[in-house]
Amino acid sequence: MAVRPRPSLEPAPPAPRRGLLGLLHQPELLLGLALTVVMLLSALLANVLFPDGADRMDLTSRLVPPFTDTAHIFGTDPIGRDVLARVVYGGRISLIVGIVSVVLAVIIGVAVGLIAGYRRGWVDTVLMRLVDVQLAFPFILLAITVIAVVGPGLWKVIFVMVVTQWVQYARLVRGQVLSLRERDFVHAAQALGSSDLRVILRHILPNLVGPVIVLATLNVANNILLESGLTFLGLGVDPLIPSWGGMLADGRNYLQTAWWVAMFPGLAITVTVLGFNLLGDWLRDRLDPLGRA
């Protein structure tokens, strides 16, 4: 799509190199990819890395400090569970919540946004009022209210995120469709007798992918933070399942004696979220130069 270049006296940035060699010249992308890939792989391979699971208690080695015992690199918690194993298994929860919630919200939001922007009418009116409400309603408060009703749980947390976040994608897509539907290539397709569905899928949708991917990537980061926050408050994932938020809530009680129990899950959250944020920033520069997402 044509983006009018901004008149500028600054020299154009050098064209990025392609291939693996080009990756070395983009430290942000390299770091972002490295962090997310490591986190995804360790979550996927959790049962290969730690076949005993995350709940095995070894009461003979409780509260082992980190980096003192090769069997427990990140140390152990007050009931002798390996902190590294729990961090690795906990990553599954965070990544499942972050990715699944975003995928579902994207599907719903893009569909509604396409209809609202292309057809206008009542869908559009209702959507815009929902946008107003969503902007005024702090997510945590809505989540607290809904979790108070349905109770905590992995899928319920995902449900709350989808219900509150699809509006963001719908709003983004709607705005794009409103301008795209007046473009010549869309009018041309319509004049050639393409059905509405074909126009939307073949001509409008491909032009939306960039900003949606950018918003989605940044929201994976955001939702990992939200999930851990809710679980920390006791409103997220079941406290018996190892999760980063749950480990932090737990570790807070042993700050005086065992700082590492709260340190490593927090570090894991930061590293994972940083990875997705780096990717999102890089994608924004590439796919969404106008910063619409």
């Binding site: 009022r129 107003d132 409400v133 702090p138 997510f139 408060l141 349905v150 700082w259 927090g266 979220v273």
Partner: protein, 308 residues
């Protein structure tokens, strides 16, 4: 201006009405408070539950209950707590100042840090300081606020013992929670400020101002910063919602006696009146802040017409 202010106020009120409607409805879907409140040796009989429900007014239609709540919300009568029997308005009045104090101090810390850092980063774009400001703000953006809080408690409360680790014991208690929230806020605000300053510095009026021979100081502060402030204000308004969410979590970390901890205990007790009023009051604060920010645009940028 007046016309605009009134029409925006009506929109804001509509949003508050919608938010309270969602909250009141959702809260009533959660189990039966009569079961939670029943105190007796044996399981409650049907009559026991009926009695509790009618005493609490829960046997009336939802719409009646909601309209009563909405009327009370605007007149300050929020009913009484199911659990303690105290007036909800009084409970909220006791807790609201602590929450607002925390929110305002965090916002102040974030603005005091963001403006110099963001402006410097934009003016010296590509330099070493810019690199570190950008890198640190991206890391800060990725920090869970409650973890930062816990680590600050560990360092300043447990190891160094400079500051009280939690609770509400005078001004020193305010430092750790507001620095926690302030630092997280700063990392997002710096990024927006930098981007918006860069945008403005590229504009023609800045070039004109420079070519007139104005000092760089005047160009920066009078021409650039003022114009860069509009997107920042909008953003601060949007962030305020997130800040209130952060306050709820951070209050829990620091045992801060604010509305967040009130809401969390209300969930545990199925205390509808307290929960719905707390959430409604916090949302209304967010709507009000955004409304005031909307009105302030005209003061910062006279080109923005308030008539349309």
């Amino acid at each position: 201006m007046t016309k605009y202010a009134i029409s925006r106020l009506l929109q804001a009120l509509l949003v508050v009405v919608l938010v309270t409607l969602i909250v009141a409805y959702t809260v009533r879907l959660s189990g039966d408070p009569a079961v939670a409140l029943f105190q007796g040796a044996s399981a409650p009989t049907k009559e026991d539950l009926e009695r509790i429900r009618s005493a609490l007014g829960l046997d009336r239609p939802f719409l009646v209950q909601y309209l009563e709540f909405l009327g009370g919300f605007f007149t300050g009568d929020l009913g009484t707590s199911f659990r303690s029997g105290q007036p909800v308005a009084q409970l909220i009045a006791e807790r609201l100042p602590a929450t607002l104090l925390l929110a305002v101090c965090s916002m102040a810390i974030s603005l005091l840090l963001s403006f110099p850092l963001g402006v410097y980063s934009a003016v010296r774009k590509g330099g070493a300081v810019d690199f570190w400001i950008r890198a640190l703000s991206l890391v800060g953006l990725s920090f869970p606020n409650f973890w930062l809080g816990i680590m600050l408690i560990l360092l300043f409360g447990v190891v160094l013992r400079w500051l009280p680790p939690s609770g509400f014991e005078g001004a020193s208690s305010l430092v750790l929670p507001s620095v926690t929230l302030g630092l997280i806020l700063t990392s997002t605000t710096v990024r927006i400020l930098r981007a918006s300053m860069l945008e403005v510095l590229r504009s023609q009026y800045v070039t004109v101002a420079r070519s007139k021979g104005l000092s760089e100081r005047v160009v920066l502060y009078k021409h650039a910063l003022r114009n860069a402030s509009i997107p920042i204000l909008t953003f601060v308004g949007l962030q305020f919602g997130g800040l209130i969410g952060g306050v709820v979590i951070v209050e829990q970390v620091f045992a801060w006696p604010g509305l967040g901890s009130l809401a969390l205990s209300a969930i545990a007790n199925r205390d509808y009146p307290v929960l719905q009023s707390t959430v409604a009051v916090l949302s209304a604060v967010v709507v009000l802040v955004n409304y005031l920010i909307d009105l302030s645009y005209g003061l910062i940028d006279p080109r923005i017409s308030m008539e349309s």
